[in-house]
């Protein structure tokens, strides 16, 4: 195989040298991408926000002033419903828990939601899209895409509400519900790409040389669909977090006393407008998190879009 490559290209290079050159190109591309990315201050702000929130969520027990208020049942009625102060940056809630600490812990649930849902959804959606797209016109294509149509026919939040409602309300089940709703978007995205790519020469050459279907799907077609997939993933993080918070908000996600961001907004809504800080700060935390992911996603999209040319 190594010899062949050398003969075909007409140059006298070994496989090893070729690999080294490939790595070098890749490294240069990466450097150039980072340069392009860092030129847009908004993308950098978004990336930094996401990074800080992830770190804060991981090290929450060490950096928050009152980790106990978030991790175990806690009441302190003497300090209940305190407005924001130096002692309690975001104030305290109706039973005296520090809202700042709880908000930082709340990021854990939102991030888990985003990561778990997307890592369940993307492989399933992508594989179904590849199969349907490659076998376009066959019965399997019809079956997959019609099912996709049905799921796309209803707004994701509504079906997620329905599915979450028949399951036991907790974080895991809300992730299941959102995942069941989310895969069709990836199927449709990849389907569009795959139907275009299946007629390309590199695919037909692979077919002619007798490559297996799995090889064609995953080694020939998939690599060419990766950049739109990654772009969609980075933009979807924000959406999934919003839907997760919405489910928690209506009581179908993270259950109190656990500090889900949506859960905290909902339980504080009862005390509006007098104790506005109870729900306002967790609500703003959701906005900051989603804003961070969207700015980052936009930056990445510009990168990928530029690379495609």
């Amino acid at each position: 195989m190594a010899q062949q490559t050398a003969e075909w290209t007409g140059f006298n290079i070994t496989e090893q040298e070729l690999r080294r050159m490939r790595w070098q190109t890749r490294r240069e591309n990466l450097g150039r991408s980072w340069y392009k990315f860092s030129r847009n201050p908004l993308s950098v702000v978004g990336g930094a926000t996401v990074l800080i929130i992830i770190l804060a969520a991981i090290f929450a027990p060490y950096i928050t002033p009152y980790p106990d208020h978030a991790t175990r049942p806690f009441t302190d009625f003497a300090n209940a419903s305190q407005p924001p102060s130096l002692e309690h940056w975001f104030g305290t809630d109706e039973i005296g828990r520090d809202i700042f600490s709880r908000t930082v812990f709340g990021f854990r649930f939102s991030l888990t939601m985003g990561v778990v849902v997307l890592s369940m959804v993307v492989p399933v959606g992508v594989i179904l899209g590849l199969i349907a797209g490659y076998f376009q016109g066959s019965r399997i294509d019809t079956i997959i895409m019609r099912i996709t149509d049905i799921f796309l026919a209803v707004p994701p939040l509504i079906l997620a509400l329905a599915i979450a409602s028949v399951l036991e309300p907790n974080l895991f089940n809300s992730m299941v519900a959102v995942s069941l709703m989310w895969w069709p978007w990836y199927t449709r995205l990849v389907y569009g790409q795959a139907t275009a790519l299946r007629n390309e020469f590199f695919v037909s050459s692979a077919e002619v040389t007798g490559a297996s279907t799995a090889h064609i799907l995953f080694r020939e077609i998939l690599p060419n669909t990766l950049s739109p997939i990654f772009t969609k993933i980075s933009l979807d993080m924000g959406w999934v977090i919003i839907i997760g918070a919405s489910l928690s908000f209506v009581g179908l996600g993270v259950q109190p006393p656990k500090p889900g961001l949506g859960t905290m907004v909902a339980s504080g809504a009862k005390y509006l407008p007098d104790q506005w800080w109870i729900s306002l700060f967790p609500a703003l935390a959701i906005v900051v998190l989603v804003l961070g992911f969207n700015l980052l996603g936009d930056g990445l999209r510009d990168l990928f879009a530029a690379e495609e040319i």
Partner: protein, 342 residues
């Protein structure tokens, strides 16, 4: 003729999608752990009552036959009895749905006017100060969940500035117009009751705005993008070269083709708005489908849940057909064909 075939094709597709949706809903309702008959009569009812009900509800039949019964009942508008209100689910929906629909339509109106307006403004003053302001607004609109907007508006306009009422559809003491359509504004207009009309509008604005913010942001972004793309096209340069006033160029020749993308998204947004209304209604204590739906969800009232989802699905699909028709109307190529046959 072309429109008719188009509608027929879309309707056929819609029926297919609805059938699929009904199967999904049916499966969701049936995989739930627990015996629907037992849930319906309560834990203390004797076993023979449950068995009788089970027979009556066709629960002893195989699943496809159960689905057949469920579907034929649903087609007749019979979704069974709600566990929450102990009434017919269909009656409940007839009572609560108009309030949600009124909210969603108002927010659609706001979305259309403000979204297209801001997008046009943005495209016209591209890369100037106004454009940047609109971009920031639309970005914030996209990243902020509607229930957060609801809380922000409630605090800011409802309490700090005290401009709008924050609870329900009508103030206390204002005479309720007789229910005809279920839309408070239309009903008061029909009754000639202008106090109620203005009060209803006053109550509508805040929740509708909260609901509209996210979709409005999206419309503004899309309108801006497609307008600034069309601005670079040759036909605009040609029209300008003829000396057509800039206002006409913008309003007639640029806006119309640019709206195609905006309106296609608007259909999706309307249905998304109905879903988000669930969250906004909770904050503004709006007596709509969401409070009913939420209670149904918390009590695991399957008849009500499936009916609510099916109704929302139907609305979504119908709205999308309407949107496709409007888009077909707006498409300049179809317009050209009509002009030639004249």
């Amino acid at each position: 003729m072309r429109t008719l075939t188009f509608i027929a094709r879309r309707a056929f597709h819609a029926i297919f999608v609805l059938l699929g949706l009904s199967i999904v809903i049916f499966i969701i309702a049936r995989i739930m752990p627990g015996d629907p008959a037992r849930v319906a009569v309560g834990a203390r009812a004797p076993e023979w009552v449950v068995e009788q009900l089970r027979e009556q509800m066709h629960l002893n039949d195989p699943l496809p036959i159960q689905y057949y019964y469920w579907l034929t009942d649903a087609l007749h508008g019979d979704f069974g009895i709600s566990l929450v209100t102990r009434r017919n689910v269909a009656d409940d929906i007839r009572e609560f749905f108009p309030a949600s629909l009124e909210l969603a339509f108002t927010s659609l109106l706001i979305t259309a006017v403000l979204g297209i307006g801001l997008g046009t403004l943005s495209a016209r003053h591209k890369d100037k100060f106004i454009d940047n302001v609109v971009r920031v607004i639309s970005y914030m609109g996209v990243v902020t969940p509607s229930f957060v907007f609801a809380i922000l508006f409630l605090l800011l306009f409802g309490y700090v500035l005290d401009l709008f009422p924050t609870i329900g559809r009508l103030s206390e003491g204002v005479p309720r117009p007789p229910t005809v359509t279920g839309f408070m504004t239309i009903d008061s207009l029909l009754a000639g009751n202008f106090t109620a009309l203005f009060d209803a509008l006053h109550h509508l604005i805040l929740p509708a705005m909260a609901l509209a913010m996210g979709t409005m942001a999206q419309e503004a972004r899309i309108t801006r993008a497609s307008m600034s793309e069309n601005l670079t096209k040759d036909y605009i340069a040609a029209i300008r070269a003829f000396g057509v006033p800039e206002r006409t160029v913008m309003g007639r020749f640029l806006l119309k083709p640019s709206l195609i993308a905006t309106i296609s998204i608007m259909g999706l947004d309307f249905a998304g708005g109905l879903a988000n209304a669930f969250l906004v209604e909770l904050i503004f204590v709006w007596p709509g489908l969401s409070r009913y739906g939420m209670n149904a969800i918390l009590r695991k009232d399957l008849n009500a849940i499936s009916a609510v989802i099916l109704v929302l699905g139907v609305v979504f699909i119908v709205v999308n057909i309407i949107v496709d028709l409007v888009v077909a109307r707006l498409d300049p190529r179809i317009g050209l064909r009509a002009a030639r046959s004249d």
